[in-house]
């Protein structure tokens, strides 16, 4: 076995994957070749060092609020495929007479459940978003209310199950946005958190826009 053949087999040798003949051939070569023996030792040390590295490290920021905001839209799609039994049960849970009223009632409950300041119509995120300039989110509250009203006008055409899922996801994004805003309060210059907040805002507007465009179900 020459040096090239030897080095090509190092990893399999260290993994115990070489057959007996190859392993013996390699050992014979190593006994006569200090250079290859040195290379093998270096690789062994590097592999052992790599294998001993930590396996887990908490990120500097909680990533869940941003994830929750993004996955909520996917949940809307899943919700439309619930079984008939679940759909009937869900429809019975919530009878919405006004989308806007139901949203703000739900929002106030969500805010309180999240143990955030008991703000009913303006969460931390809304106050913060309203202070942004140049990010295209200044009209957030007005745009959201406009879309909620549009959804309200269409609510009689949509099933209770669909409305339930939409409202649930709006509130989920709200909670995520408020958690991001609280984190931003502690670290106001954090660009990552700012991007997450703006992203969540866009997710909520997108969700409402899609909900308003849903085909009639009832």
């Amino acid at each position: 076995m020459n040096c090239h053949e030897s080095t090509d087999r190092f990893d399999d040798y260290l993994d115990g994957q070489l057959d007996a003949d190859d392993a013996n051939g390699l050992r014979t070569h190593l006994a006569d070749c200090p250079s290859c023996a040195d290379k093998l030792e270096t690789i062994r040390e590097l592999r052992e060092g790599a294998a001993a590295l930590p396996r887990s490290l908490e990120p500097p920021h909680d990533l869940w609020p941003g994830i929750a905001a993004r996955i909520s839209e996917a949940k809307v799609v899943r919700g439309r495929f619930w079984s008939r039994t679940l759909m009937a049960a869900a429809a019975a849970v919530l009878v919405i007479t006004s989308v806007v009223t139901a949203y703000y009632i739900g929002r106030s409950q969500a805010v309180m459940m999240a143990e955030l300041p008991a703000v009913v119509e303006s969460g931390e995120s809304e106050v913060l978003l309203a202070s942004f300039e140049g990010l295209g989110v200044n009209d957030y509250m007005a745009r959201r209310t406009e879309l909620l009203n549009a959804l309200d006008a269409r609510s009689h055409e949509l099933s209770g199950e669909t409305m339930d899922v939409v409202m649930e996801n709006l509130l989920l994004i709200d909670q995520a946005m408020d958690r991001i805003a609280v984190a931003l309060g502690e670290d106001p210059e954090n660009e990552f958190l700012m991007k997450q907040l703006v992203g969540a805002y866009r997710q909520q507007i997108n969700l409402l826009q899609r909900a308003v465009r849903l085909p009639a179900e009832v």
Binding site: D8, G49, A52, L53, P54, I67
Partner: protein, 180 residues
């Protein structure tokens, strides 16, 4: 592959998450975020980008939960999803070109008591972070995560020989960095 495929106590959480239970998925997130984030950080070498990629990995996992058949542990499946997300981002050259080469100062300091010494581990982490992209990817997947060259070649879209060459290059650069 070298990722531990041992069963974990998350089966019911996974089942609930597959049915759309966000709370269950949040628990899965809590159980796995440290490992996912560190994998992203090692593969991309940039703490800020690692956060974005880790978040993307969980979103992707949520979207693909329906395809999880339980043949492996959820953590193993999530590991693969994460690797694919990082490699997918790597292919987005526009994004990568805008980034500054990392110094490795944000790599893990919370080290276990196992050998080698914390100083050696930190040196190794910093040296890994300073590797060129291709060499770092192959080194992390092969020597840290335990993937075989054949799997790395399939995941990264290169030939097995290229994967071996990148690993050889990574080890040479690491050897030089650690002995200088």
């Amino acid at each position: 592959m070298g990722v531990a495929g041992k069963p974990e106590g998350s089966e019911s959480l996974v089942d609930r998450a597959v049915r759309g239970d966000v709370g269950a998925f949040e628990e899965l997130y809590s159980e796995n975020v440290g490992r996912v984030y560190l994998l992203c950080l090692r593969m991309c070498g940039d703490p800020s980008l690692a956060e974005e990629l880790a978040q993307e990995a969980f979103v992707r996992a949520w979207q693909k939960l329906g395809s999880f058949r339980g043949a492996s542990a959820f953590s193993t499946w999530l590991h693969r999803v994460t690797v694919n997300v990082v490699l997918g981002d790597r292919r987005s050259t526009v994004r990568r070109e805008a980034r500054v080469k990392p110094a490795g100062d944000d790599l893990p300091l919370d080290l276990t008591a196992s050998a080698p010494s914390p100083g050696q581990v930190l040196d190794l982490e910093r040296s890994i972070a300073a590797l060129p992209d291709g060499a770092r990817t192959v080194f992390v997947l092969h020597d840290v995560e335990g993937y075989r060259h054949k799997e790395i070649a399939r995941l990264t879209g290169v030939a097995v020989g290229t994967s071996k060459a990148q690993l050889h290059r990574a080890r040479q650069l690491l050897r030089k960095a650690l002995t200088s």
